[in-house]
Structures are given as C-alpha cells and as structure tokens.
C-alpha cells in the first residue's frame, strides 16, 4: 500500500514537472518536417553543449559548432556571436576571419566578443541571446567556472526558447555536470579522408560526433557518426569506410535497369 502511494506520488510529480517545464516548440514533432534537409536538422532556440576531451581539440569543437550554427542562419537572423575570455585567447586561439571564410561562413556575420571575467561572459551571452537578429551564440568555456552552474544553464535554456536564438557552450574535458542543455554533443577529430590527388595530404575536417544527451527527434536512432565538413555542409562518412578514410564509391544504381520498360538495354 505504502509502495503504491509512493509510486502514485512520483507519477503525479512527473506529470506536474512536465507541464511546468517549458519545452521549446516542436523538437520532437516538427523538427524532421520543418527543418532544412541536412544531416542534423535542428530547431532553433536550444541550448547545446559541445564537449571535446582535450583543449587541443578546440579547432574541432569550433568547427562543428560553427557548422551547426550555420544551418540556423536565416535572412532575418544573420548574426553569429562568438564569446571568449580574453586570457584564454592564447590558450585556445581566436577564430580567424580568413579561416572562417574558407570554412564557408561569411566573416561579416561572425562577431567576436572578448570579455575579462566569467560573469561578464555570462552577461554577454544572455544579452546576445536576447537579440532577435542573432542566430547562434558560441561561448568558449576553456576552463569551467563556478558561476556556470545548473541555474545559469537553466536561465540560458529558458531564454533561448523564448527568443529563438541558439546557444552553444564549448566545453573541454571529461567531466560532465548537471545542465539544462537539451543536447549534449561530444566531438572528436578523426583522421581526415583521402585527398583526391595526394594521399598524404589532410583534407576536409572529419569528426566523430556523438550525441550524449537528448535526441534529434522521436524514434530516431542515437547519433554516433563520423561526419565530414564539405562545401554542402555535414556529410556522413559511410559506416563501412572506417577510420582510415577510404570512402566507398557511390553504389551503382542497380535498380535503374529493372525500371526500364523494355529489354533493349539488356539486349544491347
């Protein structure tokens, strides 16, 4: 009897929490239908965490986040903001305009904000999310600080869902603390694919992407992929290709023969 009532209470509480919790519109239902066709179809207004194991992977984390952010840019929401603590610039490197142009983003739309203290970093991030013309805000958190706790992330998440801007927290290391982020990505660089004319040259960025928390939609398989960043955005590297970068050739369209009405092609 006791156990049953406890179970009942828990159930009630869960229902109430679900009602209270403000879910951003349509992550589960509309994401697949409404978004642009792409590998990761994301609704706007989400708080993301992008984790990578080492500070040395800062390039991969930035590349992947910029890749996701680029898909959120709309004509009425052109800007992407990148926030960094001033004293971490030498440790992590600062985004480089020419490299961003090569990467496939308009450098004019990427604004950098360099702040001195963690509190200013949080203030600037929150201020930036509030602007209706900002598509995404990237916050580089080189070393974790106490002010960025669950409450802060909850604030961010609510504000993001209110205004429709997305926030990407770039985090480093193996530790994970409680956060209100809807999606937590884990990105690691992977040895790049084969260059067309030079087998020994590195080519397009290639990352191992793993969605540790959250899903991209109901009933979709958990994300654990190897992706390339190409001119067209993210491109999944065929699972059979393996890490050595031997991309399988495009499969022949065997069905085409069968679809022909007559037997001429087979006869010839």
């Amino acid at each position: 009897m006791q156990g049953l009532s406890k179970h009942q209470t828990l159930q009630d509480l869960r229902t109430r929490i679900q009602a209270l919790e403000k879910r951003p519109p349509g992550l589960e239902e509309n994401a697949v239908a409404a978004g642009k066709p792409g590998l990761f179809t994301l609704p706007s207004g989400l708080l993301h965490e992008v984790f990578t194991d080492l500070l040395g992977n800062a390039g991969a984390a930035l590349g992947f986040s910029l890749g996701l952010a680029r898909e959120l840019v709309r004509p009425e929401r052109p800007a992407i903001l990148y926030l960094q603590l001033l004293h971490e610039a030498q440790e992590l490197g600062t985004p480089y305009g020419a490299g961003i142009a090569t990467f496939g983003l308009d450098p004019a739309n990427l604004i950098f904000c360099r702040v001195e203290t963690p509190i200013e970093l949080l203030w600037a991030a929150e201020e930036a999310i509030g602007c209706p013309a900002v598509a995404a805000v990237l916050v580089d958190v080189g070393a974790a600080f106490t002010a960025l706790d669950f409450t802060a992330s909850r604030r961010f998440a609510l504000r993001c869902s209110d205004t429709g801007s997305s926030l990407f927290l770039l985090r480093y290391g193996l530790g994970r603390e409680a956060s209100a982020a809807r999606l937590r990505w884990h990105v690691e660089p992977v040895l790049s694919g084969k260059a067309p004319f030079d087998a020994r040259a590195p080519t397009e960025p290639r990352w191992q992407v793993n969605l540790e928390k959250g899903t991209l939609g109901l009933g979709r398989a958990p994300v654990d992929l190897i992706v390339d960043w190409t001119q067209n955005g993210f491109e999944r590297v065929d699972a059979g290709a393996g890490a050595d970068g031997l991309q399988a050739p495009a499969p022949l369209s065997g069905a085409a023969f069968a679809a022909l009405g007559d037997r001429l092609s087979e006869a010839s």
């Binding site: 390039g59 985004p95 450098p107």
Partner: protein
C-alpha cells in the same frame, strides 16, 4: 627662492609677491613658507574650471599671466538663467568664497577688461565701453611683461588712462606691438577669443537640483529624462548623435564624466538610457558622489543627419538595427574594444591580414582585401605563434614529421605544404633592404620568409605551423605553431 603668493596677514607685514625668501624671512622671522606644488595647483585649478562649466558651457583658463591661470567664462546668453549678470557674478563668487577661497571677479565685454578689473579692481560689471573703468587702473592690469611695466613706470605712465590718445607709433617703437595689442584687446578694438576647455557641444539638456542627489539610480533616472529632452531637440533638427556624455557636477567642485558611443547615429532616448546604465555597471567602485551632485548635463556630439524613420510598411527585416543596439549595449558594459569583427587587410602575412576592429567604430571594407577562399586557412589562430620543436625534416623543404608543443609530442600522419609566404619587401624599412633594394631581403630570406605546412596527427588534430626562414639557412631552423584547423 621667491615669494609666489602671500596671504592677507603676510601682506600687512610687508611681504609682497616676487620678494626673495631670505628678505621676507628677515622682515618676519617666524614666516611660514611652503614650497609651491605646481602639479597639485594645476590639477585643482583644472577641477575648478571644469566645475564652472555648470554655469556656462564655454569655460577657459588663461595661463599667460598667473601661476596657475585665470578662469574665464563666456556668459553670452547664459546670465538670464541666474536672473541677471549681477546676480550671476555674486552667485559664482559667493559659492567659491564659501569654499574658503579669496575670489575677485568682474564682468566686462572683453576678456582683457574683465581680467584687469578682476585682478586690479573691485568686483563690478562694466558695459560696452570700458575706457572709463580702466582709466584709473595701473598699467600692470593690461597683462604686460615685467620689462614693459618697468619701462612705462620709468616714463611716468602709471595708469591705463594715461595711455589713451598717446602716439601709437612711438609706443610701439618703445614697447613692441604687444602693448598696443593688449590695450586694444582690453578696449574691444581687437577681438580676443578663448579656447574652451571642454569640447563645445551644441546639443545638451541639463537639470539642476535644489537638493544634491547621490544615488546612482537617481542619476540614471535623470539621465533617462534628459535623454528624452535631448532626443526631442535632436529630432527637431533631424540629426542623430553617436557619442553621448553625461556630466555630473558635484557640490565639492568636481565633475565626473561618463561617455558612451553608439555604432550608428541615434536619438532613441530609451537606448541612450540603457547605454548609460550598462556603462555605470562597468564603473563599479569608481563612482563617488562625494557630498552630492547638484547638476547633471547630458550632451550629444558626433552629430550626423538622421532622417525620420518610417516604421512598418517597407521595413526590411534584416535585424541590422537590433544588432547595432546589441553591440552598443555590449560595448558600453564591456568596453569599446570588447566587441570586434574581422577587418581584412590587403597583405599576405596571415596574422596581419585580419584585424579585429571594434564594431561600433566600423570602417569601410577594403575591396582589395577580400580573403581568398581557395587558400586553406585555420579556423583558430594563436594570437602569438608558439615556438615548437621539430625534428629535421626528411627532405629539404619537406614537411615536419613531428613536433613537441607545450611539452607534448605529436606525430604527424598527413601533411601538406609548403605554402611559401615571402617577406613584403615594399613595406620593409629602408635599412633592412640593403644596397640592391628589395632583392636582398627577398633572395636571402633574412629570416622573414615563412613556409607554412598543414599537418595532421594520429588522432586527427590539424595544425598550421611554419618554418621561419629558408631551409638550410641556419643549423636549426625555428618552427612555430600558428593555428588549428577544424
């Protein structure tokens, strides 16, 4: 050592300015003499001058005569705010006297006449014609040199009145043109301008308080109200401003200035108010109201025409206005250099090709500097390239096989390069070029040519590193890590 200033009691005992200190001590053995602290006096006097801008916007300090200056206020069109010229003079002198200073002042139509009356006469107001008032003053009241005064005395010309109607040519021959110039300036025949201490502002709104205020919130609220007044004024003239200054006049004759800048010309009162609120956040401990603030003035500068803006109908929703407001807010709280964008510069040197320019002071893009998207450039650049240890490349000009960076060894699996970026000989200083012009610097490298390589280690990290100078130039070429690819 000479006497620079003496108080009333000392003067009664026979101490006078420019007397030597030993003479003075002989007259008054228990004389209390202190060495003059010019730096302190100058800064205190500058504070005074700033404070007086609450009486008139044009305040100037004449430094050619007194040790630390004479305060000059242009009260054209201001005196009615006090009631009349007489009341204004009395008010200003009284409030200085209340602070414990000995003050003398005069109002005249020329700077010269006012100076003469204030320094050598009694406090009074003189109209257009100053001849009568000046006639009985000593010639020293004309702001003359020591030698000129001595010379005039020698000739028996002791008062200014005696100079009226003298033969100008002989006066000029004896005492130089400056005597005539000073005389003409005092009498208004030659115009004399004062240079205002503070930048002149055409558009401002101000409020005086019967009781001094001290709370920052009150100041901000006043700034907001003044913003609305100023905005209405700017709108009437069809202009917007990019810089706004808030002057806080403290009761104890100090002036605090807060300035904010906007990315584009604006006259949005709410926005200006917000900018000041953020600017104040950045002040933290620096704000000190002292005994209170009795006047606040909000001034606008960097004006540019701003047409009436139609809202609705044909507005394009590109968010530019929203973004500008965001950048203004961030810059006012975080400092103007905090919010930057990439400005491309027409050069090959990677770290110079992109400058970080404050977004609120955006300049025109250089069309020749558009980045070449076919060049592979890293996503992240280290502000200062870091030296790395690289084992000898296997072949001349070959890629590095590994590196040690921040005490960690990275073995490279894939590499590409080199991309050679030469020295820009046309921008080198003459001394480095040598006799054959640019050829030498380019041909022998001079340690300025760089070979860039993209290298990927076993776990897929992609680095951008360069070798300084040409291969084989020194025994150990120096390698640097400059960036990371995605």
């Amino acid at each position: 050592m000479r006497i620079v200033a003496a108080d009333a009691r000392a003067s009664r005992q026979g101490i006078f300015v420019s007397q030597s200190l030993s003479d003075a001590k002989a007259i008054v053995p228990d004389l209390e003499a202190r060495e003059i602290d010019r730096g302190f006096l100058a800064s205190a006097f500058a504070d005074f001058a700033n404070w007086h801008s609450n009486a008139s916007p044009i305040v100037s300090v004449l430094t050619d005569q007194a040790q630390w200056g004479d305060l000059v206020l242009d009260i054209e069109g201001v005196s009615h705010l006090f009631g009349s010229e007489a009341i204004m003079l009395e008010t200003l002198m009284d409030r200085l006297a209340e602070l414990g200073f000995t003050v003398n002042g005069a109002i005249a139509s020329t700077v010269g006449a006012a100076w003469a009356l204030a320094n050598h006469g009694a406090a009074q107001i003189v109209g257009e014609d100053a001849r009568q008032a000046l006639a009985n003053l000593p010639v020293a009241a004309l702001r003359l040199h020591e030698e000129q005064i001595a010379g005039l005395r020698h000739l028996g010309l002791k008062s200014i009145g005696q100079l009226y109607g003298r033969d100008r040519r002989s006066l000029q021959a004896r005492f130089g043109t400056s005597l005539l110039l000073r005389l003409d300036q005092a009498l208004g025949f030659v115009e004399e301008r004062v240079t205002p201490r503070l930048p002149l502002v055409d558009h401002y709104a101000e409020r005086r308080f019967a009781e001094p205020i001290a709370l920052m919130d009150d100041v901000l609220m006043t700034a907001r109200d003044l913003g609305f007044q100023l905005a209405a004024r700017l709108e009437r003239e069809g202009v917007g401003a990019q810089a706004f200054h808030l002057f806080l006049y403290r009761v104890d004759h100090k002036v605090m200035t807060l300035s904010v800048n906007a990315g584009r010309a604006t006259r949005d009162a709410a926005h200006i108010g917000r900018l000041f609120a953020h600017r104040v956040d950045r002040l933290q401990g620096e704000y000190d109201a002292g005994f209170g603030i009795d006047m606040i003035r909000l001034a606008a500068s960097s004006l540019s025409p701003l047409a009436q803006h139609q809202i609705g109908a044909f507005e394009s929703a590109d968010g530019a206005a929203d973004l500008d407001r965001l950048y203004d807010r961030m810059a006012s709280r975080l400092g103007p250099l905090a919010v930057v964008h990439s400005k491309f510069v027409n050069t090959h040197i990677p770290e110079q090709a992109v400058e970080l320019e404050p977004i609120i002071a955006r300049t025109e893009d250089d069309p020749q500097a558009t980045p070449d998207r076919s060049l592979r450039r890293p996503l992240r650049l280290l502000p200062a390239p870091e030296p790395v240890t690289v084992a000898f490349a296997e072949v001349p000009d070959g890629p590095p096989p590994n590196m040690i960076w921040r005490r960690v060894r990275y073995r490279f699996v894939k590499t590409s390069g080199p991309e050679r970026i030469g020295v820009e000989w046309w921008s080198l200083p003459e001394a480095m070029l040598g006799p054959s012009g640019g050829d030498k610097a380019v041909n022998d490298g001079s340690g300025l040519t760089r070979d860039y390589y993209i290298a990927e280690d076993e776990s897929g990290r992609r680095f951008w590193l360069f070798r300084e100078g040409w291969y084989g130039e020194g025994a150990f070429p120096r390698w640097f890590l400059q960036g990371f690819f995605g």
